[in-house]
Symmetry: C2
Subunit: 116 residues, 2 copies
């Protein structure tokens, strides 16, 4: 596994790639520039909602950012709670699967969705 970059560093990277100032980015995601600055110096942590907005306006992968920020997408939480007695135990039993095995499961789900 690649060394885990921090959310702070990744945020700065994405922002500078877009040639955005700290206040400009803040304005775009409804937060003060100061807060963006704090996030980039890991003096503060983002809410999952903020991560979502950041990913959108920075054209980044939401899941990557959520992961770096140690957050779970509320939409994913909803799926977990949609079957509270099966999904959590399913996930716990799946903790050692490889990416290839996950892809196999993904295909199965795609098929299930098609046959509905």
């Amino acid at each position: 596994m690649a060394r885990k970059i921090t959310f702070a560093d990744r945020l700065k990277e994405l922002r500078t790639e877009k040639n955005m100032g700290i206040r400009e980015l803040g304005r775009a995601v409804d937060v003060t520039g100061m807060h963006i600055s704090n996030l980039e110096k890991h003096k503060s942590a983002p809410s999952s909602d903020l991560v979502r907005k950041l990913a959108e306006i920075l054209d980044a992968n939401v899941d990557e950012l959520l992961y770096l920020a140690d957050q779970v997408d509320p939409e994913v939480v909803d799926v977990i709670h949609s079957n509270p007695l099966t999904v959590p135990s399913f996930l716990r039993s799946a903790k050692n699967l490889t990416p290839e095995q996950w892809e196999k499961l993904q295909k199965q789900v795609d098929k299930m969705n098609k046959d509905s």
Copy 2:
């Protein structure tokens, strides 16, 4: 779907079933009785850690309580982050599966685990 009972009500139910006082339960889960009282009157919300402890000492299903408390088990979060780019999108695509379909997936995972 059965009407969603509140975490507060379920907690009181479980506690009285066990003939436990508010302080006694608090002591057992390292929290003041006052906090238990607040939880039962939904004046406060429990941390996922506390929900875990409560489930254990009340002999209740952790996942049911976590669901009622609108929390996600940290262990489940770890699984999600173990494959940050595949698991979240897998879950989003699986949001409409029935319990039977989830069980089918569960069996598949059981097989994958055996063949390792």
